[in-house]
């Protein structure tokens, strides 16, 4: 095993605030880590490619999503199977590879059933959830916000580019700065309790169950905002499980949150904004982007993002797809080829690229697991990213007092996620406090803002999908 250091020490824009230097042990070998950083980032930073082996075929696995959703990073930490990407590193942690299915029963969570009666439960601490909490901050409603990550902010914490949008909506700032601002603001709200590193696992007759390392909570809310965001789509090709293949968002977390370079020579699959933006960020981190490939004949994302990488010589190959990758412990080579309009591979156009990393930026799917358990009406609307909850213009679902906001309602943007989160927040205030003029006006303005925002040609799809997702408002909301 050849160990190297994948950390980014100098970055043109970011400064990485690292904790105290500590030592952890991977398969007995000491490696350097920083207290509080993602354990998976620390392991990866030390040049370790294989985190574990798959239980049956014993194929190597390594980080993919970096947000606790895929399970590829599970190893034994101090004897207990652990998702390392969402576990903060601590001094002397002993890490062993896993190559079979862990014995689940031995590691049952302690059931400290602290029952919480609250006015509002917010599931998810991304822009949408934080926005709802902001509106409710300082009111007489008790609020619990549950988020499963190490740092609050959802996708925002990995966004190092400057925001678009209008002045009222943070334009000109960088995403992670907005997340930090909100995180500070919410920590000072007396009526908002943030449960971080805590996952909402289910909705039951008795209430909503959330689980953290320390405890299992049973929460009984009067109102709920589900703002659980989205997860990254996967792609089928030969050897697509090899270490070195990551979700673009996962790579972004590694690189922009924890300061660890995902690889040196990179192929990005997908030319939507995510693919284009991450390519630019890879250049900033000092990596080489060999190409961005796109199956459609046109670039999917905004022109300005494409132009940014083109001027540094990164090719964007439209009408191209990935056929497979080769490598032993990790990707060493990728094969791409041209496709025709029906996405059929054109024979003879295969080309191999020497890369050590392949990033998948092929779209997001709304994370609706929790909201569905409330029994809300759902509809498959491809324009919004797949199966989504129906909602009123005020973000209430078909189940009274259950609201949605952000990417789980429609794959869109942080700006619109914030607006929807605010709308949901005001809707709850209106329900709880009656039709106060102030709240109604603010909510109407937000609804208008959302409408204006979506009027651009680049939002055509969302506009169409949005119409299909609407249900009439409750009479009381006028």
């Amino acid at each position: 095993m050849c160990l190297s250091d994948r950390r980014i020490y100098t970055h043109p824009i970011l400064e990485f605030k690292r904790g105290k230097e500590i030592t952890i042990f991977f398969e007995g070998k000491p490696i350097r880590a920083f207290e509080g950083e993602s354990l998976a980032a620390a392991i990866y930073a030390a040049g370790i490619n294989v985190f574990r082996l798959s239980p049956i075929l014993k194929r190597p696995r390594a980080v993919f999503c970096m947000v606790g959703k895929c399970g590829s990073c599970i190893v034994r930490v101090n004897g207990i199977p652990t998702r390392t990407c969402v576990t903060p590193a601590e001094e002397n942690m002993r890490i062993e590879r896993i190559s079979n299915l862990p014995e689940a029963s031995k590691y049952e969570k302690r059931l400290v059933s602290e029952e919480i009666d609250v006015d509002v439960l917010i599931v998810g601490g991304g822009p949408a959830g934080m926005a709802s909490a902001e509106v409710l901050c300082g009111t007489d409603l008790s609020v619990v916000l549950v988020d499963d990550q190490i740092r609050l902010g959802g996708q925002l914490i990995k966004q190092t580019h400057i925001f678009f949008g209008s002045r009222e909506l943070f334009a000109g700032k960088r995403g992670f700065e907005i997340a930090e601002e909100y995180s500070n603001k919410l920590s000072k709200c007396p009526n908002v309790r943030v449960l971080d590193r805590t996952t909402v696992i289910g909705v039951f007759k008795e209430g909503v169950v959330a689980v953290s390392d320390e405890a299992t909570y049973l929460i009984r809310p009067k109102y709920v905002v589900v703002a659980a965001g989205a997860y990254e789509n996967y792609l089928v090709f030969e050897n697509n499980d090899l270490p070195g293949i990551m979700g673009a968002g996962g790579a972004q977390t590694l690189m922009n949150v924890w300061g660890v370079k995902p690889g040196n020579e990179i192929l990005v699959v997908g030319s939507g904004n995510v693919g284009l933006i991450i390519s630019y960020q890879l250049l900033q981190a000092g990596a080489e982007v060999k190409a961005v490939i796109e199956a459609l004949p046109r670039i999917g994302g905004w022109f300005v993002h494409a132009a940014k990488i083109r001027r540094y010589g990164v090719p964007i190959l439209t009408s191209h797809t990935i056929l497979g990758v080769k490598g032993s412990e990790r990707v060493e080579e990728a094969t791409i080829a041209r496709v025709d309009e029906g996405w059929n591979v054109i024979r003879g156009t295969e080309k191999s690229l020497k890369v050590d990393t392949v990033l998948l930026a092929v779209g997001l799917t709304p994370n609706t697991e929790i909201v569905r358990q409330f029994g809300v009406a759902m509809k498959y609307i491809p324009e919004l990213g797949g199966l989504v909850p129906l909602r009123t213009p005020y973000m209430e679902t078909s189940v009274e007092n259950v609201f949605v906001a952000g990417d789980l309602a429609a794959i869109e943007e942080a700006t619109t996620a914030f607006i929807e989160g605010w709308i949901a927040g005001y809707s709850i205030l209106i329900k709880a406090h009656g039709m106060k003029e102030e709240y109604l006006t603010k909510r109407e303005n937000l609804v208008r803002m959302l409408y204006e925002y979506r009027s651009a040609p680049v939002s055509e799809k969302v506009r169409k999908g949005w119409q299909l997702s609407l249900i009439p408002c409750e009479v009381s909301a006028k």
Binding site: A171, L283, F303, R310, S455
Partner: protein
């Protein structure tokens, strides 16, 4: 010429048609901003960052409209635009040297009087230039760099590579 949404590269013709290229008289008068924001996107950072009210949009999703008679070429918008789509060109000085002001967010970082490689919209090296001015925008922390370029390349050079 293939469409910019196929290539990620816009050509001078398209920019001219969109009204983003000032006439000769204005160009000769002094530095002026060239906006390469050719797609209607919801953004108005330029509108509120221009101290001279030279940029406007009716709707947030319109293309920005530049009033070249108001634009002083100050370059403030260059460091603020999230699309890194704004450049200032200056062909007003005597001789064969022109100047391009552009945003820069990569390592190595440029320093004044340093020599840099000039890149076009496709990343091809088109010559060498010298940094005549560099500062870091207070809000975005992007570098805003002015480089000297051969006059006939002011509409070609859109990025730099810093030589160490």
């Amino acid at each position: 010429m293939r469409h910019f949404k196929e290539t990620g590269v816009v050509d001078l013709d398209t920019l001219t048609k969109m009204g983003y290229v000032p006439d000769e008289i204005r160009l000769r008068r002094g530095p002026v901003a060239i906006y390469e924001c050719v797609e209607e996107i919801p953004c108005n950072v330029c509108v509120f960052s221009c101290p001279f009210n030279a940029v406007s949009k009716n709707k947030i999703t319109d293309l920005p409209q530049i009033d070249f008679s108001r634009c002083t070429g100050c370059g403030v918008c260059v460091g603020r635009c999230p699309g890194l789509a704004i450049f200032v060109v200056d062909v007003s000085k005597e001789g064969d040297t022109g100047y391009v002001t552009l945003p820069h967010e990569l390592f190595p970082t440029p320093s004044k009087d340093g020599e840099v490689v000039l890149l076009d919209r496709e990343g091809r090296e088109v010559g060498k230039g010298t940094v005549t001015r560099v500062y870091r925008d207070k809000i975005t922390k992007s570098w805003v760099v002015t480089v000297s370029v051969p006059k006939d390349l002011v509409m070609v050079v859109r990025a730099i590579k810093v030589i160490r």
